[in-house]
């Protein structure tokens, strides 16, 4: 029966022409799609872009709820074994079967049924995630022309969980004035601090080449601070500014978006340095007002994050990259003598050759040649191996004034054992990922222990929602006077799961990064850029496209 199935499957796979490319990219996640676009457009390479899934985006995809659920639960079967090659003994290649790491585990669904039609909920696998208005992702989209294919909505603002209730994050002069929860003294301290940081940024950009925030030479930007100061922990630096604890927490976790408890010496690790803290604030501040119509620092793509890989794949296709979905790679071919990578064998049995191979890092080759993959790793964090994620559906907003909101639960705010920030993102129907009147809330936290990670996610869910099977959660939150009279949203459906953090690596075969534990794309894009320059040292990564992508006859830009 296996044979018959295999045979049928074999019949279904198309034969790919030609059979040699400069680069084969396997997986259509954001990093792979960017690499394909950069190789095809900027470096003028021939690209074959494959995915074994029937959809674009891999672990960065946005899927209708039923597909999302089955994707999380799918026990990955290794790609169908290719047909036993009769000429194997005479083949000039060593054939190594491709294996797949399990990416999702401990998937727990709510017992309740999702609201119907469940297909109208389009869920991000990598949520919660947003794009800074001034970050590299925006730059790359503009440069590649991908920006033409995606539209965005503003994230209205951020809320921070402080003292058992949600408070708005005053992130700009206007927001500070508007804020009702801060005392006058706190407001002026916050203003003073932001002014000081802006002063540092200004003095830096005057000295520098005027490059956008987050890019360029950060050390030049903070000329007014001594190098020693920049190396000190950011939390200490803030302490010296005599900021009240609440303001300090807001700056650390809601603006600089620190992951780990910054007051925990040693074992917790990952203390943010002042330099990094100021860079992050600088990115945040330059994101405010970077785009017309964006209310805050963040934007979210309409139809979900899965649009971004699709947009870059289209850019790559326009430049000649060849696309084949539903095409598993079954093995990697190495030269018997030199041990160098030569090509891949597809599930169809067809062998395709290329100079480079990039695979999403959930794929690996058998251990005997694993050295191929880990010549040079990028380490995200020494302390996290996984991300706990949650997706919730509700029918009312957490906050009266805002619909799309980023929520920050600083370390220890939910549970004593919570050593990492829990972040959440509420989205309403204006991003077209759920029916009108419904809300989708994503949550995530990095963790080294799945149980602790999931407990933290659940604690945040309890703080935010009225759970169907719990009676104890009413009062944690009802004293929120900013939101007086608003009851907690009912939790209609949820899923909590663990995602492994596989690392990117450079070797004979390159491995591209999986979604990380951050809410933005900065780290992923930096890693992707490094991978690209390793493969094509002389090529620029998606240089600005002067002859713009569109052959717009009347030259006017619509919209």
């Amino acid at each position: 029966m296996d044979m018959a199935e295999n045979f049928l499957a074999h019949q279904d796979y198309p034969s790919i022409e030609p059979n040699a490319f400069d680069i084969i990219v396997y997986g259509t996640g954001l990093p792979e799609s960017l690499l394909a676009a950069a190789a095809a457009a900027a470096a003028g390479k021939t690209v074959l872009h494959l995915d074994h899934n029937p959809f674009y985006g891999s672990h960065f995809a946005s899927l209708p709820l039923p597909s999302f659920s089955s994707f999380l639960q799918s026990v990955f079967r290794s790609p169908p074994k290719s047909f036993s090659d009769l000429s194997a003994s005479t083949s000039p290649y060593d054939v190594f079967e491709l294996e797949s790491r399990r990416v999702y585990s401990e998937v727990e669904f709510a017992t309740s049924q999702p609201p119907e039609p469940s297909r109208s909920f389009i869920l991000d696998l990598c949520g919660p995630r947003v794009v800074y208005c001034a970050d590299m992702a925006v730059d790359l989209m503009l440069r590649s022309g991908a920006s033409h294919h995606v539209e965005f909505k503003s994230v209205d603002g951020s809320l921070i969980y402080w003292d058992g209730r949600l408070c708005s994050v005053p992130d700009s002069r206007q927001a500070i004035f508007r804020d009702k929860s801060l005392a006058l003294a706190e407001k002026s301290q916050m203003m003073k601090f932001l002014k000081m940081v802006q002063g540092h940024i200004a003095s830096g950009s005057a000295a520098g080449a005027g490059a956008g925030a987050g890019a360029g030479a950060p050390e030049e930007r903070f000329v007014r601070m001594s190098p020693q100061d920049l190396e000190t922990p950011f939390a200490e630096f803030l302490q010296k500014q005599h900021l009240p604890p609440k303001i300090r927490t807001i700056i650390l976790y809601a603006i600089a978006l620190a992951d780990y408890d910054q007051d925990c010496e040693g074992s917790c690790g990952n203390l943010m340095k002042t330099k990094e803290g100021l860079e992050r604030i600088s990115l945040y501040i330059s994101s405010l007002g970077r785009l017309p119509n964006a209310v805050g620092a963040f934007i979210y793509p309409i139809y979900g994050h899965g649009e971004l890989p699709q947009a870059f794949c289209r850019c790559a296709a326009v430049k000649g990259a060849l696309y084949v979905l539903r095409m598993p790679v079954s093995a990697v071919l190495l030269d018997k003598v030199s041990n160098q990578y030569k090509g891949v064998r597809l599930a169809s049995g067809q062998e395709i050759f290329s100079q480079h191979l990039v695979m999403e890092s959930s794929f690996t080759v058998q251990s005997s040649v694993s050295s191929l993959l880990d010549n040079q790793d990028f380490h995200y964090s020494k302390h996290s191996r996984m991300v706990a994620r949650g997706v919730c559906i509700t029918n009312s907003s957490i906050h009266t004034d805002s619909s799309n909101i980023l929520l920050i639960f600083p370390p220890r705010s939910l549970l004593p054992e919570q050593s990492v920030t829990v972040r959440a993102l509420q989205l309403c129907s204006n991003v077209s990922t759920c029916p009108s009147g419904m809300f989708v809330v994503y949550l995530s936290t990095q963790c080294h222990d799945a149980t602790v990670g999931k407990e933290c996610i659940r604690a945040a869910m309890e703080a935010l929602f009225r759970l169907p099977d719990s009676s104890s959660s009413e009062e944690i939150f009802s004293s929120d006077n900013e939101n007086a009279g608003v009851s907690k949203p009912n939790l209609l459906w949820s899923v909590v799961y663990i995602q492994e953090l596989a690392q990117a690596s450079i070797g004979s075969i390159h491995s591209s990064p999986m979604p990380d534990g951050n809410v933005d794309y900065q780290n992923l894009l930096e890693t992707t850029t490094k991978l690209f320059s390793k493969m094509y040292p002389e090529a620029e990564f998606l240089p600005p496209n002067k002859a713009s992508e569109n052959a717009d006859e009347d030259g006017s830009q619509s919209d």
């Binding site: 294919h149 649009e307 699709q310």
Partner: protein, 200 residues
């Protein structure tokens, strides 16, 4: 999606059909008045735009070509999204391409919006002596499936402008936005572009 303002309609139009049916040639003939005997598979543009003036409105088409992603049946949902019109192209000298066109119609019914104006174009009408698909057969299929049908020739330009004009005429004159308008990324910092911004 078609958006309307002062009788100006912006409409995304997508092309579907098998490789070699002449999708890109149709667009190039319509937009640039060109025809190349050996058109390369990919034309290197994400989209073309062309404006048509009708009696009651000006229709600006944004025409998306498949960029070759249809070759191994790997078009992204993004391609169909928000399209107000589609032209499904087959080659009248190939029964296979006509059969594949029917598959594209099904795909479109699954992915596209129900109010989409859909045209079936039997291209390469200049190759009458090699014809394999009769006009009657194609017209009957089009009628059954609510498409309008024309035979075109990108080579001789027969019916090329006509098919686009006919689509323009059939576009709904007032169509509510299908999804809330979002912001399009721009290079202009907010301070400078505030006066010209229009979407919310």
């Amino acid at each position: 999606m078609a958006t309307i303002g002062n009788n100006n309609i912006n409409a995304k139009l997508v092309l579907l059909g098998d490789m070699g049916a002449g999708k890109s040639s149709l667009v190039l003939r319509f937009v640039k008045g060109q025809f190349l005997e050996f058109q390369e598979s990919t034309i290197g543009a994400a989209f073309f735009s062309q404006t048509l003036a009708l009696n009651d409105a000006t229709v600006k088409f944004e025409i998306w070509d498949t960029a070759g992603q249809e070759r191994y049946h790997s078009l992204a949902p993004m391609y169909y999204r928000g399209a107000a019109a589609a032209i499904i192209v087959y080659d009248i000298t190939s029964t296979e391409s006509f059969e594949r066109a029917k598959k594209w119609v099904q795909e479109l019914q699954k992915q596209g919006n129900p109010n989409m104006v859909t045209a079936l174009a039997g291209n390469k009408a200049d190759l009458e002596d090699k014809r394999k698909v009769t006009m009657d057969e194609a017209r009957a299929y089009a009628d059954e499936n609510g498409l309008f049908f024309m035979e075109t020739s990108a080579k001789t330009a027969v019916n090329v402008n006509d098919i686009f004009y006919e689509i323009a005429r059939r576009l709904p004159r007032a169509q509510p936005a299908q999804h809330p308008a979002g912001m399009v990324l721009s290079n202009t910092p907010a301070e400078q572009s505030r006066t010209t911004s229009c979407c919310s």
